[in-house]
């Protein structure tokens, strides 16, 4: 398993936001994380990304328990988070954004040609055809294109796990489709993807597995091929569905 969370707990003062959460994600798969507002999705992401310290349980990367005490640790382990409000610089162009902070140099100057070529190769490996001019400023791009740049950054930097927090929330229908196809392609290229979304259509379109959080506890982790929409809705709203979910024997653990 690329990422394995075991018995993860997180408290803010007296409030237990995450309680005994188990989740594992393998390379090459998209795991969707769903749950109502306040179920703990964002907190879970921030624990993995090193923004919050965890209060209990462990995080393993490649079967090794790791202490992630900051975003730098997470990045060093190949974990890249793409947040809702994309951290892109409007005044820089596509290539400059992709390499921001990790520019390639040749002698004393930037190796612009090499960076542009690598950027073009990365985008074409993801079958991105919507961005024609790599030298246009990011400010001139549409929401979908900006999201594409932010996601492509993860591939370029050889990340192994990409966490996407509501990447399609602010996008139109056509742009959402492009981003969904991009997410699927990331996993098909061997990355692990943790995909957080409110939209069940988007979840079903790309997910291999669906993990449902309910009030800070993992209600169930389902294979997307076996799941139905009504099951997932029940898990989100009540934490259980038939024999699945909290209170059932398996207690949501993946068997």
């Amino acid at each position: 398993m690329l990422l394995e969370l075991t018995g993860l707990s997180k408290r803010f003062g007296p409030v237990e936001v995450l309680s005994d959460v188990d989740l594992s994600i393998d390379a090459g798969e998209v795991c969707a994380l769903v749950g109502d507002n306040g179920a703990g999705k964002s907190t879970l992401v921030k624990c993995v990304a090193g923004i919050h310290a965890i209060d209990g349980g462990s995080i393993s990367v490649n079967d090794e328990v790791r202490a992630i005490s900051g975003p730098r640790d997470a990045a060093a382990l190949g974990i890249e988070v793409v947040y809702q409000d994309l951290a892109l610089c409007d005044n820089l162009d596509v290539v400059e954004n992709l390499f921001l902070g990790r520019e390639k140099v040749r002698g004393l100057v930037l190796d612009d040609d090499a960076m542009e070529q690598l950027a073009a190769e990365t985008l074409s490996s993801l079958a991105v055809r919507t961005i024609r001019n790599l030298r246009q400023p990011v400010a001139s791009l549409s929401g979908g294109q900006r999201q594409t740049v932010a996601i492509a950054k993860a591939v370029l930097w050889n990340s192994r796990l990409v966490i996407l927090d509501e990447p399609t929330a602010a996008l139109g229908v056509a742009q959402t489709r492009q981003v969904l196809e991009l997410i699927r392609r990331l996993a098909d290229q061997g990355l692990a993807v943790l995909y957080i979304s409110h939209n069940l259509n988007d979840v079903f379109a790309v997910a291999d597995r669906i993990a449902a959080l309910y009030l800070g506890r993992m209600a169930a982790v389902l294979d997307a091929a076996d799941a139905t929409q009504s099951q997932v809705v029940e898990l989100i709203t009540s934490g259980r569905s038939g024999t699945l979910g909290l209170g059932a024997d398996t207690n949501g653990a993946r068997t």
């Binding site: 079958a127 229908v173 056509a174 196809e181 098909d188 091929a225 076996d226 799941a227 139905t228 929409q229």
Partner: protein, 362 residues
């Protein structure tokens, strides 16, 4: 068993090398040696041979980044062999001439009148194609078997021998495949679906068809009339004479005309559009359940306007599919969208022609 003669072996090796270059692009001699499992000197002999016949050329190509002389690349000469591919649609005929290696050498299209008959469509194709290409392949939407179109909702044809129509118009031989199968071949050979052993491509045009290819090759009987699977017994009347066909229940014609506004309206919260999309998704999932159970594919591609429908209604599609298929069939099933888009059928038709052409060289 007699061993194959030297001449025959040589011919086979030539075909294998050409196929390797055609499919995987320019390579060094070392890479070819590795990929084909042949001796270095054998590769050298065949390469010289193919260079003399004008099929391949050697270029001083990419630098490896390390020091030293850049390695020589072997590549096919696109113009050495070409295949004419035609896609017939309800409103137009599209033509592209593909060279060895998959490069497009020429491209043209001409409009068709709605309700056009077979011979007239063949004339339009003939005007575009002329005598170009060593092979000519046509992709036709519908149920196709052995060159004949048994039924096509999109074109309104029944029992039309399209291969004969085309042959009469051009006085040359044609291969005819259905559009979905052609697109499946295209996605397998030049798209992202190379890992699929049994690849099912769903084509959304004015009708719904599907094509199954095994290891990238079209199969007889692989053309499937997805749109005429009955999902609602006694339901809406379909143009084919049955009731409750998928095409009729989904009102596929409306989606074919304007999928964008239907999905956009649903995306913005229009209740009627949402409901329509959900029901269409469920119907599609149910019909797919039957197809998956019958054919056992390991990958399904949603092509044409079904791409937009799937990405906007994946939850009902997959829910219905989960309820109508056996666990061992659905657990290894990948659902994807095509990467070649509109070009898929033409590319696949051309690849069908190249496969025949290379087979003939063996």
């Amino acid at each position: 068993m007699a061993r194959p003669g030297t001449e025959e072996l040589r011919r086979r090796n030539r075909a294998a090398l050409l196929e390797q270059l055609h499919r995987h692009g320019p390579q060094t001699r070392a890479e070819l040696t590795e990929a084909l499992g042949l001796n270095r000197s054998t590769i050298a002999t065949i390469a010289t041979d193919l260079a003399e016949s004008g099929h391949i050329q050697e270029t001083t190509g990419r630098s490896t980044g390390s020091a030293g002389r850049p390695s020589t690349l072997v590549e096919c000469v696109p113009k050495a062999e070409s295949v004419a591919a035609v896609e017939i649609r309800a409103d137009r005929v599209r033509f592209a001439l593909f060279g060895l290696g998959g490069e497009v050498l020429e491209r043209a299209e001409s409009p068709l009148l709605t309700g056009v008959e077979g011979p007239a469509a063949a004339e339009a194709a003939a005007a575009l194609v002329g005598g170009s290409g060593a092979e000519a392949v046509a992709a036709v939407p519908g149920l196709v078997d052995a060159g004949a179109v048994a039924h096509s909702t999109e074109l309104g044809w029944t029992g039309r021998d399209v291969a004969a129509d085309l042959a009469a118009a051009t006085s040359r031989e044609w291969r005819v495949v259905d559009t979905a199968t052609a697109a499946a071949v295209g996605e397998w050979s030049r798209g992202d679906a190379h890992d699929a052993t049994r690849l099912l491509y769903l084509h959304g045009g004015r009708g719904l068809t599907a094509g199954l290819v095994v290891e990238g090759r079209a199969q007889r009987g692989g053309s499937i009339q997805l749109g005429h699977i009955v999902v609602e017994p006694g339901g809406l009347a379909c143009a084919c004479g049955l009731r409750g066909c998928l095409e009729a229940e989904m009102e596929a014609f409306g989606y074919a005309e304007d999928i964008e506004s239907a999905t956009a309206a649903a995306g913005m919260g229009d209740a009627a559009a949402r409901d329509g999309l959900r029901r269409s998704g469920e119907d599609l999932g149910r019909a797919l359940g039957a197809v998956v159970t019958a054919t056992g594919p390991d990958e399904i591609l949603f092509g044409g306007w079904l791409r937009e429908l799937y990405l906007s209604a994946a939850a009902p599609v997959r829910s219905a599919l989960a309820e109508t298929t056996l666990p061992h069939l659905r657990s290894r099933l990948r659902l994807r969208t095509p990467v070649l888009g509109e070009e898929g059928p033409l590319i696949g038709a051309a690849e069908t022609g190249f496969a025949a052409l290379i087979d003939r060289m063996r």
